[in-house]
C-alpha cells in the first residue's frame, strides 16, 4: 500500500540546509508530496503507532475505530480475547467497512456497499452473490478469497496502551521503545486499570510535525505558558531533565515541582510569563497528591511518531496525533483515572483536566502557537527554522534549556524518510 504514487522521490523534495540537525527547511510543513511520503515511510513505515487504550475494548467482540496517519483502522477484541487491528477499507471497492466509532458484539465486518464480509482476523469470508443468481453472473471460478483479506497490522500492548505497526521490519515494541521509555511507561501506569474520564478532539491549524516538535520542545513551557511559570509548575530551575531511548527517537521530559528554589531569570519583569500578580482565587485547581515515589510532578513522554503519554500533576492521559493534510492535524486527548483511585483522587484528576486539552490553561496555547507558525511561514517556504539551543546534536542533556529533543525527532525523521 502506498500514498506516494506519482510524486517525486524524497531526495528531490527535501534538501536539508546543513549536515547537522540544527536547521529545518520550512517547506516540509506544507508540501503535499512530502506529506504523501510521510504517510508511507513514517506512519506505515517501521514505527509503532498508538491505536487505543485496551480499556476501550474490554469485552470479546468489542471494537473501536482509530487512524494511523490518514489510514482508518479498526481495533477489535477477538472472541478469544486477543486484540487485532485491521485497515477499515473493504478490499472490494474501498468503502469503509465500519462507520460507527465503536461497538460491541461484532464478530464480523460486513461492507455496507456490496456485503463482502470479513472475520476478526480480516479474512474475506463471504461475497454476496458469489455464485451468481440463477446460475448467471457471480465471481469467476478461480477467484481466491484468501488473496483479498483486509490489511492487518501487527499489534502489541504495553500497560494497557495498544500499539500497531504496518511494517514487518519494526522491531518488537519494547525494543522499539528502548529501556528508559518502557520503564517510564510502567512507572506512569503501574499496572493500574485505566478508566477513561474524558476525551477531547483538538483540531490544530498546523502541520502534524509542528505539534510533535512542540511536545518535545522543553524550553518553551516556561516562556509561552505563563500558567506554568507563575505556579512553579515547570520552571527550568526546578529539578528535571530529559531522557532518551538509545536511538534518540523517543524522549521524556520531566520536572519536580517542589524542588524549585527560584532563579533570578524568573524575577518579575524578566520574562513575559512571570506574572507575580496571578494568584488563583481558587488554588484547589493545582492541589495535587504525590502520586509517584520519584517526586516527578510533570512528565511528557513522546513516542515516535505521534504519541504522548502525559502526567501533569495528577492529570494522566494520552495524546494521539492524527494527520489531516499538510496544514491541519487532530490531537486526540484522553484523560484517565484508575480503578483504585479514591473518590478524592478522582475528583482531583477531573478538576485538573482544566490544565489540558483545547481548553487547558496550559495546552490551549499549544493549539494557537502551531497555527502562528503555519501562518508565519506561508510566504517563506525557502527559509529554515533554527534549532540550535543546546548544540547541534540530539544527545540526552541534563537541562531543559535545549532543543535536543526536537533535533532527535528530525534525526528519526531523516532516517525514516531516507533523506
Amino acid at each position: 500500500m502506498a500514498q506516494a504514487i506519482g510524486v517525486r522521490p524524497v531526495s528531490e523534495l527535501i534538501r536539508w540546509p546543513t549536515d547537522d540537525l540544527s536547521r529545518i527547511p520550512l517547506h516540509i510543513y506544507g508540501d503535499p508530496e512530502i506529506y504523501a511520503w510521510e504517510q508511507d515511510r513514517i506512519f506505515r513505515g517501521p514505527t509503532w503507532n498508538f491505536l487505543s487504550l485496551e480499556c476501550e475494548i474490554p469485552k470479546p467482540n468489542d471494537y473501536v475505530l482509530t487512524k494511523v496517519g490518514d489510514t482508518p483502522v479498526i481495533v477489535l477484541r477477538t472472541a478469544e480475547g486477543g486484540i487485532n487491528a485491521l485497515v477499515n477499507r473493504c478490499t472490494h471497492k474501498g468503502s469503509v467497512l465500519c462507520h460507527d466509532s465503536r461497538g460491541e458484539g461484532k464478530r464480523s465486518f460486513v461492507c455496507p456497499y456490496h456485503a463482502w464480509s470479513f472475520d476478526q482476523s480480516g479474512e474475506l469470508r463471504g461475497i454476496a452473490f458469489e455464485k451468481g443468481v440463477g446460475g448467471l453472473g457471480g465471481m469467476p471460478e478461480g477467484f481466491d478469497k484468501s488473496k483479498h483479506a483486509l490489511t492487518r497490522l501487527r499489534v502489541e500492548v504495553i500497560e494497557g496502551l495498544v500499539f500497531g505497526t504496518f511494517s514487518e521490519q519494526t522491531p518488537p515494541l519494547e525494543q522499539y521503545l528502548g529501556e528508559p521509555m518502557v520503564a517510564h511507561i510502567r512507572r506512569t501506569i503501574r499496572g493500574r486499570k485505566m478508566q477513561i474520564i474524558g476525551r477531547y478532539n483538538h483540531i490544530m491549524p498546523n502541520n502534524w510535525k509542528l505539534y510533535i516538535e512542540n511536545s518535545r520542545d522543553t524550553h518553551h513551557p516556561s516562556l509561552l505558558h505563563a500558567f506554568f511559570a507563575t505556579f512553579k509548575l515547570n520552571r527550568l530551575s526546578a529539578e528535571g531533565g530529559i531522557r532518551h531511548d538509545p536511538a534518540n527517537w523517543h524522549h521524556l521530559v520531566f520536572a519536580k515541582r517542589l524542588t524549585d528554589q527560584g532563579h533570578e531569570e524568573y524575577s518579575p519583569g524578566k520574562l513575559r510569563t512571570m506574572k507575580s500578580d496571578f494568584g488563583l482565587n481558587d488554588p484547589s485547581l493545582i492541589a495535587q497528591w504525590m502520586e509517584y515515589d520519584d517526586n516527578i510532578t510533570n512528565a511528557l513522554q513522546s513516542i515516535l511518531p505521534g504519541f504522548v503519554l502525559q502526567q501533569i500533576l495528577n492529570s494522566v492521559g494520552t495524546r494521539q496525533i492524527i494527520t489531516r493534510g499538510t496544514d491541519e492535524c487532530e490531537l486526540v486527548w484522553t484523560v484517565v483515572a484508575f480503578e483504585e483511585d479514591t473518590p478524592e483522587q478522582r475528583a482531583i484528576r477531573i478538576k485538573q483536566s482544566n490544565l489540558v486539552g483545547p481548553h487547558g490553561y496550559i495546552s490551549m496555547e499549544d493549539g494557537a502557537i502551531g497555527g502562528f507558525v503555519q501562518q508565519g511561514i506561508k510566504g517563506d517556504r525557502d527559509k529554515q527554522a533554527v534549532v540550535e539551543m543546546g548544540g547541534l546534536t540530539a544527545d540526552g542533556q541534563p537541562t531543559r534549556a535545549t532543543e535536543t529533543s526536537v533535533r532527535g525527532f528530525y534525526k528519526a525523521y531523516r532516517e525514516l524518510m531516507g533523506a
Binding site: S101, I196, I197, G198, R199, Y200, N201, H202, I203, M204, P205, L224, A226, F227, T230, K275, F278, L280, N281, D282, L285, E330, V335, R349, I350, K351, S353, N354, G357, P358, H359, Y361, M364, E365, G367, A368, I369, G371, F372
Partner: protein
C-alpha cells in the same frame, strides 16, 4: 439567558461569573463524553472563584489570537420547576434547556461555526422573598461535536 450571551458576545467577560451562584457549576462537555459517562469535560468550574480565575487568565495570562463569539439561542424549554426550602427563605428553582449556536469571528474577519449544542441549566431565583433574579446553580454546555478548533478560551 439573553443577558448571559450578550455579556460574552460583547466581550464583557468579567460579568460572566455574576450569572452564577457562589457555588455555581459550569462545564462544557461533548455529547459523546456525556453519553459515555466521561465526566471530565472541558472548562470545568465548580465555584465562582474558578470562573473569575478563568477570566483573569483569559485577559492577562493566556496567549491566543483575538476573536469574539456571536451566540444565537433558541427558545428555553422548562423541564421542571420547584422550590428550594433549604435556606432562610424559600426560593423558586427551575431546570431548563436551551439550544445555542455559536459563531467565532477572528480578528482578521474570518468566521467559523464554532459550536452548536444545548445549555442544560439549573436555575435558582434569588433576591428578596419571592425574588426574581435568576442565577445559575449549574450550567452544563453540551456541545454536539467533540471537536474544538484551535482552542476554547472564551466560555460558551
Amino acid at each position: 439567558m439573553v443577558d448571559y450571551v450578550h455579556a460574552i458576545d460583547e466581550g464583557d467577560y468579567e460579568r460572566w461569573p455574576t450569572f452564577f451562584t457562589e457555588d455555581g457549576h459550569y462545564q462544557v462537555t461533548g455529547r459523546e463524553n456525556l453519553a459515555r459517562g466521561w465526566v471530565a469535560g472541558m472548562l470545568l468550574c465548580d465555584n465562582r472563584d474558578m470562573m473569575v480565575d478563568r477570566i483573569y487568565s483569559l485577559r492577562q495570562v493566556n496567549v491566543w489570537e483575538p476573536h469574539t463569539y456571536r451566540h444565537v439561542i433558541g427558545p428555553t424549554q422548562v423541564l421542571e420547576v420547584g422550590m428550594d426550602a433549604s435556606g432562610a427563605t424559600a426560593r423558586f428553582t427551575a431546570r431548563t434547556q436551551t439550544n445555542y449556536l455559536c459563531v467565532r469571528t477572528m480578528h482578521n474577519g474570518e468566521q467559523k461555526l464554532f459550536s452548536t449544542g444545548r445549555y442544560l441549566d439549573d436555575i435558582v431565583f434569588e433576591g428578596p422573598p419571592g425574588g426574581d433574579v435568576p442565577k445559575l446553580r449549574s450550567r452544563m454546555v453540551i456541545a454536539d461535536s467533540n471537536q474544538i478548533d484551535t482552542l476554547l478560551v472564551i466560555p460558551i
